[in-house]
């Protein structure tokens, strides 16, 4: 999954775009994980309000 960087100019986007899996994993990690935190904090808030 993580292979040596082969693009012309080094860039974080080049690293993320090595294949479809790398980008998908990155975006899911960065988007879904904070949603767990948002879910938990909203749940806590709703429980305290009720």
């Amino acid at each position: 999954m993580f292979e040596p960087f082969t693009d012309v100019v080094p860039s974080i986007f080049g690293t993320l775009n090595q294949g479809p899996l790398t980008l998908t994993l990155f975006l899911h990690t960065i988007i879904i994980l904070p949603m767990f935190w948002i879910y938990k904090s909203e749940k806590k808030r709703l429980e305290e309000e009720s």
Partner: protein, 224 residues
């Protein structure tokens, strides 16, 4: 004390915060990507070429060098390779200013004559006529190709220039190019523009360009 069952999934603030996060993060990522891209597509200089510094878009003086298209096993596609000095319209000492001026003329010419109406340049345009992104590297214009003889030319740039000035005289494609009133000077600029464009590292676009031709000569860009 037992907690009351709550429904987070139907809570509007949860979705609002989630949407805020996703939109905000995506916006930041796109702004970052924009600045990253600007660095990637910044044109190199003559000094870069002399010092062998690889840029995605080489400086205009790349027209003084031989450009080949070679398969890179590491990257899994062909990459343009800038080689030895090569004469372009009889000269290999085009200064940065001269080369830039010539490329500029070619770029303006390509816009004025609306090449993209039929051709594709760097992914923009049409596929009615051959893709021009790597047209300079098409073996059909090379020493073993048919177009040198057809245009009675000694060099690739001369052949391309003649073709551009009088395209309706030369059958290079099933859908023949019309005469667009391109002058000799404009044709020179356009050929320089094509040569520079072929030296741009496009991550292998158009895909399989070099491998399309079976006999190493006939029209790689014609997809045959």
């Amino acid at each position: 004390m037992s907690k009351k069952t709550v429904s987070v999934w139907t809570s509007i603030p949860f979705w609002r915060r989630s949407a805020g996060w996703v939109t905000g993060f995506a916006a930041m990522l796109l702004i970052w990507l924009t600045f990253d891209t600007m660095g990637q597509i910044a044109m190199g200089t003559d000094a870069d070429l002399k010092n062998g510094i690889t840029k995605r878009v080489p400086g205009p003086t790349v027209i003084n060098y031989k450009i080949t298209y070679e398969m890179s096993d590491k990257r899994g596609h062909e990459v343009p390779v800038i080689g030895e000095k090569e004469k372009f319209f009889g000269r290999d000492d085009w200064s940065e200013e001269e080369a830039r001026e010539l490329l500029h003329l070619g770029k303006l010419g390509s816009q004025a004559k609306n090449c993209m109406n039929c051709h594709t340049l760097l992914g923009n345009g049409a596929y009615y006529a051959p893709d021009l992104t790597k047209a300079w590297l098409d073996p059909a214009w090379g020493p073993n190709g048919p177009y040198l003889g057809m245009t009675n030319s000694k060099t690739k740039e001369e052949a391309m220039s003649k073709f551009l000035q009088f395209p309706s005289q030369y059958p290079t494609h099933e859908r023949m190019m019309p005469n667009l009133g391109i002058t000799e000077k404009e044709a020179m600029g356009l050929v320089a523009f094509l040569k520079h464009m072929s030296s741009i590292d496009t991550n292998g676009f158009p895909r399989n360009f070099g491998r399309m031709s079976t006999d190493g000569v006939t029209g790689a860009i014609h997809g045959k």
